[in-house]
Amino acid sequence: MAAKRKKLIVIGIDGGNFEVINSLISKGLMPNLTKLKFSGVLSSTIPPGTAVAWASFSTGNYPGKTGIYDFTLVNEDSWKINFINRKKLKGKTLWEMLSENKIKSCFINIPLTYPPDKINGVIISGIDTPSTLNNYTYPPELKEKLKEFDYEIEVGGLKEKSDMVKKCVELVDKRTKVANYLLEKDFDFFAILFRESDVAQHFAWGGEEVEEIYKKIDQFIGKVIEEEKNSDVIIISDHGEEEVKKAFNINSWLEKEGYLKTTLKKKSLFSIFGINRERIYRILNYLNLDFLVKMVPRSFAKKIPTKDIDFEEAILTKIVDLEKTRAIGKRAVKTAQIFLNTEERGGMVKKEEKDSLKKEIKEKLENFFAKNKIKALVQTKEELYGGAINAPDITLYLEERGYDILTYFTGRDIWGIPREEATHDTEGIIFSNLSLQLKSARIVDLAPTILRYFGIKEKNFDGKSLL
């Protein structure tokens, strides 16, 4: 049998963090990861969101240049909200740069790869793929082969969080089988992301399934080290993760400070009779008629209030009074993204007022958190993202461990209970057999590192090579 080609293999553990990993290592449950001599913290992006961070991994640039600030994008000149995918990612990607330099590569499940580009190699698109019915692979015929593995993109279609967590364990196996199949092919560069660690941690922090997922990923790392002896390996996470106990409700704060007004007192017929989407769903579910939900046109569904509405719904359903509102908060992980209701968006904040309003809100938030002795970083669009188009006007990142953000519009208290057991933070992980300079490694440093590994001249990145 011919010797396998030397590869560089990057394995992504979504939300991989030292709190969980060190605990598993101390119990002897991640023996293969410890075989990699070099390790350190890998700083993520702000916000430390999965899509935001992988956009920076794939381009070597921070969000001001990638144009990715969350899973959704709020337009600069309207309140229109779009979902992000490959088409929204700005700048040249790692797969394009490798392909141009005749490096044959394979990317499995990396976010912002849908629709897949035509490259010298293989792409299996990630979380931004609508479904496996879409053309989510390059080359397209690979999609047929993946059916043999019963390949799935993400967990979904399950009512209970506990079922979703169990399904995550199953998905690690499916993804590993596909990875093993593709590792047999002749690639120079290979990257795979296990998203399941993050999903399970959100819903079941400290649960046995989380441990099971890390153990399975470690077994895959062990197989790679054993069978790809010629190759080099880098294990990374896109962000860290921490348990959260308390949450700051940005929209309650904005309302209290007079920046946001809601129309909640003007009751609709639905709310007078106590009808909301959650209640309708529970009744239909009880009657085994929940399939009817999918048949309701979205235009009608939007008119039915929901208990905890999101940013887009609050604007579309006019729960936010746009005639009297100057700023609205949107949730990202541990981060509140504040958007001004500007003239360009049809709102009341005039162009010449924008800078002073940003400064005013920023200072008030800084004072609020200083008074409450909570570490928080508040930055304007110009400070954090160089004033880039579509970026949030103000970003609040809660550096204090244990705190998350809420964006409820339902007149709640400023402090509340987080929606999930754990959320992302900026302290990711990196392990490698390569002697990388890991003293202050950042996710933007990966693309320049990978390019230098292959002798490709890297230039004009926010990141720098760790080699």
Binding site: F83, E154, V155
Partner: protein
């Protein structure tokens, strides 16, 4: 915004049913 940029944005828009599938997934995962 320039006309070309508007056109580019239009070209980047996904079919509504695809956006809906992504929305549903992100909602289930608690990301939006």
């Amino acid at each position: 915004m320039k006309k070309e940029e508007k056109k580019e944005e239009k070209d980047q828009e996904e079919p509504e049913e695809d956006e809906e599938k992504v929305r549903e997934r992100l909602k289930e995962l608690g990301y939006i």
